[in-house]
Every structure is written in C-alpha cells, then in structure tokens.
Amino acid sequence: MLPWTTTCDNVGFALRADGASRAARRERARTALAEVVLAPEAIDKFPRQLSGGMRQRVALARALAVRPDLLLCDQPFSALDARSRRDLRQLLCDIQARAGPTTVFVTHDSEEALSLADVLVVMAMGRIEQVGTPAEILSHPASAMVRAQISG
C-alpha cells in the first residue's frame, strides 16, 4: 500500500487506468471497501494506522476494485493471527460465492487450502503432485508426500 495515502485513495489509485474522475474513483473504492467489510472509520486512515488484518482487507479491496478476471493471492494471510486469518478466509469465501473472480490461492496451510479450494493443486519441490477436489485428495491422496502435505 502507498503509506502516504489514505485507505480510500489507496484503492482509488488502482483505478486510475480507467481515467475516471476522482469522485467516481472514490465511490468505487468505497464500494470495494464495503465489500471486504472494512470498518467505515478506517476509510480515511493511513495504512500505518490499520492492523495487519485491515491492511489485507484493503489490499483485497484494491485487487477487487479493478474487477479482475483472475485474482492471484500469494500467501495473503500468512502474517496474520489465527482469528484474522479465519475471518479473512471466510470473507474470501463469501466474495467467491457472490460470483467473484477465479482465484488462484497459494498457501502452505493445508487447513486453509482444504477449506477454500474448489480445486486443489498439491505441489512439492516445484512439481504438481496431485490435482483434485479437496474431498478427492483427502480420500485418495496420490502419494505419501501428498498425504503428509494435507495432514499439515
């Protein structure tokens, strides 16, 4: 996030490619921030005044605001505490349920992967070990490596 800009303008910064007016950008930013359930009083705060979880919500709002076809989340919740991680995981599920973009979610947390994914790709040493739904992989792990990975 741009540390010298408020939460709302941080999300609006990503919308500058559209050439929309400042008011229109702020409106879209507010909508995106509402979508990630950010407290309204945090909208005009600077990044350093937000908690880690709130910052991740803003980053998610910024990514969603540009209405992407594909969302790539590379271990987005790894630096957060367990409660924030759980809340954000649920939030991402809700957004997905509301016909959100196709999301590629990279994680080392097997519980996170199993709870979020429609399709799970288990990788080890840079190679794909197994592809399937969480249920398939849980019931029929392709190798000892996959079994070890999904058991945490």
Binding site: L2, P3, F13, A14, L15, R16, F46, P47, Q49, R62
Partner: protein, 244 residues
Amino acid sequence: MGIGFLLAFWEWGHRAYGALVLPGRDDTLRALVTMTRDGRVGPALAETAGHALAGWLGGAGAGVIVGTLAGLSDRMRAALQPVAIIFLGIPDIAWVVMALLWFGGGWAVVFTIAVATGSLVFAAAVEGVRSLDGALLRMAEVCRVPFAARLVHMHGPHMASHLFPALATTMAMSWKVAVMAELLAGAGGIGDGLAGARARIDTAQTMAWVVVVVCVLVVVDLGLLQPLQRRLWLWRDDAGARLS
C-alpha cells in the same frame, strides 16, 4: 532551557574574557539596533538571501534531476556516484577560492553554494528513487496505472520523504556557505558586513551579524520547514493524523 543555558554561557564568557573577546548581550543588541537604523541589515540580508536562494535552487535542482536519472539508470549511477563522493569531500572553502578565480563577486558565492548543496541532494535523490518498494511498482504495473499518475502519486511522495531532509539541511547550509563565501569574496551581503566588522575589530557588530544569521535560520526553520514537514509527514505521524 537549552537557549537559556547558551545565553548564560555567553554572559559568563563576556564577564570572564572582556568585551573585546566576547561582547555582552546588551552591546550586541545595541550594535544590531544601530546597524538596522543605519539601513545596513536589510540590504545585506536581501543580498545574502538572493545568493543563498539562487545557489540553493541551482544546486538542489541539478541534484534532484541528475540524482533521479542516476537512480533510474545503473550505468549513470556508476558514472556519477564517484563524482558526487569527490564533490562531497572537497571543502566548501576550496570551492570559494576557485570560484573567485573563475567567476568573482556574487556568482562565486552562488556557484559555491550550488556545488556544496548539489552533491548532498544528489545522494538523497538517488536513494529516493532506488528505495521505492518493488511490490508497489509491480502493483502499479498490474493495475496499468498511467506513468504520470505513478510519477505524481507514487514516485513523487516517496522521493519527497527522502529529499525533504536533504533539502532542509542544504537550505540552512546555503545560508552559512553564503556568508562564508561573501566574507572571502567581498561580494556584499552579511559576509561583507562581517568582514568590515572584523577589519575594525568591532566584535559587537560581528556578534550582531551572527545574531542576524541565526535569527534568519530560526525563522526559516519555524516558519517554513517545520510546518511544511508536519504537512508532508502527516501519514507518518499518528497524532497529526488524528488532529486532521
């Protein structure tokens, strides 16, 4: 409290060593009032301010432009950084002597200030360009943020956080270098006033000129730099942000 201690130390020095070595505060104040009434302070102040501002603008402007280019290009940085280090190592007084031979008069003062400030601002600009978070650059690229918007809203504020301390330091420095160069070059201004007071061994007037320079620096710091810094640094300062 620090200022009170300094004034007390001044008074002690005056009493211990006499008025010729260190004039008292009242003598200094009287000399300052006389000089102001005679119409010497205003024009000298304006002349020194002109020299300092012209030199600072030239040096800082060149430092920002060249430093930005050096920050963007590894090749330019490799070529220019050793030059900046050499320039930083050359004492200001040496520049004054050479500039006197090259230009003489007021331009020698302006040149000396420009060279003295330029290399410092150059170093800050290079650091400002290079230290921008790569993740921010990638985010702007992914979101296809136009170049002008990146420059104004991303590179600009980030550069400002590195440049502002250097610009503030060099602004104060430009005053001190201006007075020193004027004194040696006889190029008018406060430095010339100091040279005249020295020639007459008038230590009260010498101290009065010093007081003028210090007052200008305090006014610039309190009236311009600190408010500007508070405004620019709002995003770093929780208390300031809450007040807004």
